[in-house]
């Protein structure tokens, strides 16, 4: 059974594209066939974050307008053979595609892929409507900041009224030191306010900036963000993975005890 997952947030800059890239990579590492679609027409950047910019020949708008076959536009990642990218167009804008066309495309792709990830643009207008058209479930990305949470709440309201039943929360860029000082909301605070299930919490990590600049997704790597993203991919396929213990400093001893602790 294929699943179409839209990664959205409302607010810009909270980590949708990074999350899509890393979750897609994580799912591919777990041996599933994945396609990531960049639905941000006009301001594409999923290809940059994946390091596949220089292999783009055709894009999403070409496929929808019938200028090429799907196979010609899909870029296969050489690092992970199960992972494909359908890039967006940079010279058009969001009115180039309608929700019905998107739904038709995702339905066609269901036959070939286990997971279809849609990287949604920021906002609530045409781009958002296009991205959610064919989706079965949604991952709402937010940071623990008041402005991001307001927007996430709005987005969850819109998703619910568009009858997307499975809505899960990804809290990004958590800083444990600030949480301890009371300067930042904790995971529990955010979940309480937004009243949605949590699919994962990713700590703030310098490694993410480096990875996006270099085009090398870090899911599955030894860093904390890498582990967090891989855990999220595992939860998506149905494994019950306890939340990473984020508050302890990473000494060898605490890593050992962490392994045996039940959450």
């Amino acid at each position: 059974m294929s699943e179409v997952i839209v990664v959205t947030s409302g607010k810009g800059g909270v980590g949708k594209t990074t999350a899509t890239a890393n979750i897609g990579t994580g799912l591919a590492k777990l041996n599933h066939k994945v396609v990531m679609i960049d639905t941000d027409i006009g301001l594409r950047n999923l290809d940059v974050v994946m390091g596949l910019e220089n292999r783009i020949v055709y894009n999403l708008v070409d496929v929808i307008e019938g200028n090429c076959r799907k196979k010609q536009a899909l870029i296969r990642d050489k690092r992970f053979p199960n992972l494909y990218l359908l890039p967006s167009a940079q010279t058009r804008d969001k009115t180039a595609v309608t929700p019905e066309q998107m739904k038709k495309l995702t339905d066609e792709l269901r036959e070939h892929f286990d997971y279809i990830l849609l990287d949604c643009p920021a906002g609530i207008e045409q781009g958002f409507k296009n991205a959610i058209a064919g989706a079965d479930r949604a991952i709402v990305v937010t940071t623990p900041e008041v402005s991001a949470i307001r927007d996430a709440d709005r987005i969850i309201g819109l998703l619910e009224s568009n009858e997307i039943k499975k809505i899960e929360l990804l809290i990004n860029r958590l800083r444990m030191d600030m949480i301890r000082r009371g300067d930042m909301m904790s995971v529990d605070d955010v979940v309480e306010i937004l009243a949605a299930n949590l699919i994962g919490a990713v700590p703030d990590d310098e490694g993410v900036v480096i990875s996006t600049n270099q085009g090398e997704p870090l899911a599955g790597e030894e860093t904390r963000a890498g582990q967090a993203f891989l855990n999220i991919s595992r939860r998506i396929i149905g494994e019950a993975v306890p939340l990473m213990e984020l508050s302890k400093p990473e000494t060898f001893f605490s890593r050992m005890t962490g392994l045996f602790r039940k959450n």
Partner: protein, 235 residues
């Protein structure tokens, strides 16, 4: 079928049915049925007041006439009017009064949380079984009760009723408005942390200001005193 046994006069809100007083009642009912069947499309779903002329009837007879009319056309007869001024205004008032009585049922319940950007507008008092998130708006001409946390904008007594109240299990609204008064929450400098312990509070107007107090016997007494004061001054 003698067409003149039943004559119908109507305006937008009222129906005057002139009944022949010589023919037997059963025959009259048949004629009545026919007459209204013909006019069924014209009157479809109209809500009207009705009055009878020309024939004195007992209450049960009147009831049978009304039933016949209702069964043979789409009219909703709201009330029978005894006086017969042929004034549209009179009928309109009668209809509106009857409609109001029908709608005065229990307050409206809203199940579920109101999220940012959602607006709930009601004519009557509303009870929300859920939260009102920041960015959500509730506007009511009556009272607002939130069985959850109220962290958005709430506006009670929207048509000017200062006696309306807002109550919530966790009262941390961005703005509370009652009638023409408005109260803002202080902007919390620390982040809105999850101190969502239940602390039921009620907001009401007293001495020309909005008071927000914990729900206790004293507060409730306060509120009912305030209501008495304002209604006294009106009289």
């Amino acid at each position: 079928m003698n067409r003149n046994t039943v004559i119908i006069k109507s305006n937008k809100y009222g129906l005057i049915v002139i009944l022949d007083d010589k023919i037997p009642f059963d025959e009259l009912l048949l004629d009545l049925a026919d007459k209204f069947k013909e006019s069924a499309n014209f009157f479809k779903n109209a809500k009207m007041a009705v009055s009878f002329r020309g024939r004195v009837m007992t209450k049960p007879q009147e009831k049978m006439v009304v039933d016949t009319i209702v069964n043979n056309s789409g009219i909703h007869i709201l009330c029978i009017v005894d006086e017969i001024p042929e004034h549209e205004e009179y009928y309109r008032q009668a209809v509106e009064l009857a409609e109001e009585k029908q709608e005065e049922g229990d307050g409206m319940f809203h199940r579920g949380t109101l999220r940012a950007g959602q607006v709930l507008e009601t004519e009557h008092s509303v009870i929300i079984l859920g939260d009102v998130n920041p960015g959500a708006n509730v506007i009511s001409k009556g009272n607002i009760i939130v069985l959850g946390s109220c962290r958005g904008n709430v506006y009670a007594g929207a048509s000017g009723d200062r006696g309306c109240i807002v109550a919530a299990l966790v009262m941390k609204p961005i703005q509370v408005r009652i009638a023409d008064k408005i109260a803002r929450s202080a902007i919390v400098k620390r982040v809105d942390t999850c101190e969502y312990s239940m602390d039921p509070k009620i907001a009401y107007i007293k001495d020309n200001h909005i008071y927000v107090k914990q729900i206790s016997r004293d507060t409730l007494n306060d509120i009912s005193e305030e209501e008495e004061n304002t209604s006294d001054s009106v009289q």
